[in-house]
């Protein structure tokens, strides 16, 4: 069965979602990520969705779940690269993805993660809403 690869970069995990996931694949990703965080003690997860042209309520909930579960395991999650059309649609759908940090791209996301891990909250207000 296909799986979405999870890369490890130091104390962070990096996931790039490039396929139109069917529901089961999304659930598998959720499980895999949580396991990997636990195994590796990762401090942060960066999810790159810049290739995703559709984010419906199921995927939205998946992202929210990942963020919540990671937090329980003491890791930060940042979702990067949401396309404008996707953002507009999600908002219309009524999903605000509360509890999920976001950044414009991988660079910005990594900076966010590094700063939050190092406790330098000052330079990133980011877009974190509780």
């Amino acid at each position: 069965m296909e799986k979405i690869p999870i890369l490890r970069m130091g104390e962070f995990l990096l996931v790039t979602i490039q396929v139109d996931m069917h529901d089961r694949l999304a659930m598998t990703l959720q499980d895999d990520l949580t396991n990997r965080i636990s195994e590796t003690g990762a401090k942060g997860v960066l999810i790159d969705i810049s290739s995703l042209e559709i984010v419906d309520s199921f995927i939205g909930r998946m992202l929210g779940n990942i963020a919540s579960m990671s937090r329980v395991l003491d890791a930060q999650t940042v979702v990067v690269g949401m396309q404008p059309a996707v953002a507009i649609t999600l908002v219309e759908l009524g999903m605000s993805l509360q509890g999920v940090r976001t950044a414009l791209n991988v660079d910005a996301g990594m900076e966010l993660l590094r700063n939050s891990v190092n406790g330098h909250e000052a330079s990133e207000y980011g877009s974190y809403f509780h």
Binding site: P84, A87, T102, A108, Y125, G126
Partner: protein, 294 residues
């Protein structure tokens, strides 16, 4: 006598070929006045349209008198084109409809010449013809109106786009001055402009200035909230500036929940905050020591 029009057949199918030239010249002559608009359309073009219409009419009427039936589809298509073109060329609604209606007189003349001896048949035919021409005339007017509506809608969209400029204030900081009412159509355009700008300028902070928004009620607040949420989903934070005391009162009064969006009275206050959030610091260089800038 009952008029069961759909079951009666029109004789136009045989009348038209007998008097084609006369009908055409009569029709063109009748349109001479205001509807001809030679400034908008060449005479040869008009003649071609009339000829085409007449032959299509001849074909259709020999099969049915119901202008809404499938038999009349070719005619309706032609009229759609004609109306559409005329609407875009600048003809008025009356001028466009008169193209059709002015064919009545020449048709009646032809009917009288051919069926004149039988008063009853002639009367029936004239009535049928009136019904057919009226039906086609109405269709033409509807098609004309639709084109005008499309044009107006397109112009409105263009105006909306022009009225939402996004300004880059600093590296990574955008400003979006909103002017005028914020309805749902406008909000869509605003969101698209803002989000595109965020991507293109790699901005982390957007200041939405609502000084130019006359009223802020729950609906407008919802639209603002949508815009801010969309920007956040992409990783950019928003600050709302231009919040006048009256607006602050309205927001509290209506119990509008702006979540944790920062709001400021002036653009410059918002800018200070934006600078911090974007990770910058401003120094005023000391006169004596060498300056450390940023």
């Amino acid at each position: 006598m009952a008029t069961t029009l759909n079951h009666k057949t029109s004789n136009l199918g045989s009348i038209i070929p007998q008097r084609r030239d006369a009908i055409l010249s009569g029709w063109l002559r009748d349109m001479l006045g205001s509807t001809r608009r030679t400034d908008l359309m060449k005479e040869s073009e008009l003649q071609t349209q009339c000829q085409q219409f007449l032959s299509l009419l001849e074909k259709a009427t020999s099969q049915s008198t119901n202008t809404q039936s499938a038999v009349y589809e070719p005619l309706r298509e032609m009229l759609s084109d004609v109306s559409r073109t005329r609407a875009l060329q600048g003809f008025s609604a009356r001028e466009t409809a008169t193209f059709i209606f002015s064919i009545k007189q020449p048709l009646f003349t032809a009917i009288r010449e051919i069926l004149g001896k039988d008063a009853e048949t002639m009367a029936d035919e004239m009535w049928l013809t009136t019904e057919i021409v009226d039906g086609l005339g109405l269709y033409t007017t509807e098609a004309y109106l639709k084109t005008r509506e499309e044009t107006i809608r397109r112009q409105q969209e263009e105006m909306l786009e022009l009225s939402t400029p996004v300004v880059k204030l600093w590296e990574g900081i955008l400003a979006l001055p909103l002017i005028g009412t914020l309805d749902s159509a406008r909000t869509q355009v605003v969101m698209e402009s803002l989000l595109e700008a965020i991507v293109q300028t790699n901005s982390k902070v957007a200041i939405i200035d609502i000084t130019g928004v006359p009223t802020v009620d729950t609906v407008v607040a919802q639209h603002l909230l949508k815009t801010v949420t969309a920007a956040r989903l992409m990783g950019a934070d928003c600050i709302i500036s231009g919040v006048r005391p009256q607006i602050a009162q309205t927001i509290v009064h209506l119990g509008i929940n702006l979540l944790d969006i920062t709001t400021k009275a002036t653009l410059s206050d918002a800018f200070s905050i934006a600078i911090q959030r974007a990770g910058f610091k401003f120094f005023r260089p000391q006169k004596r020591e060498s300056a450390e800038e940023k």
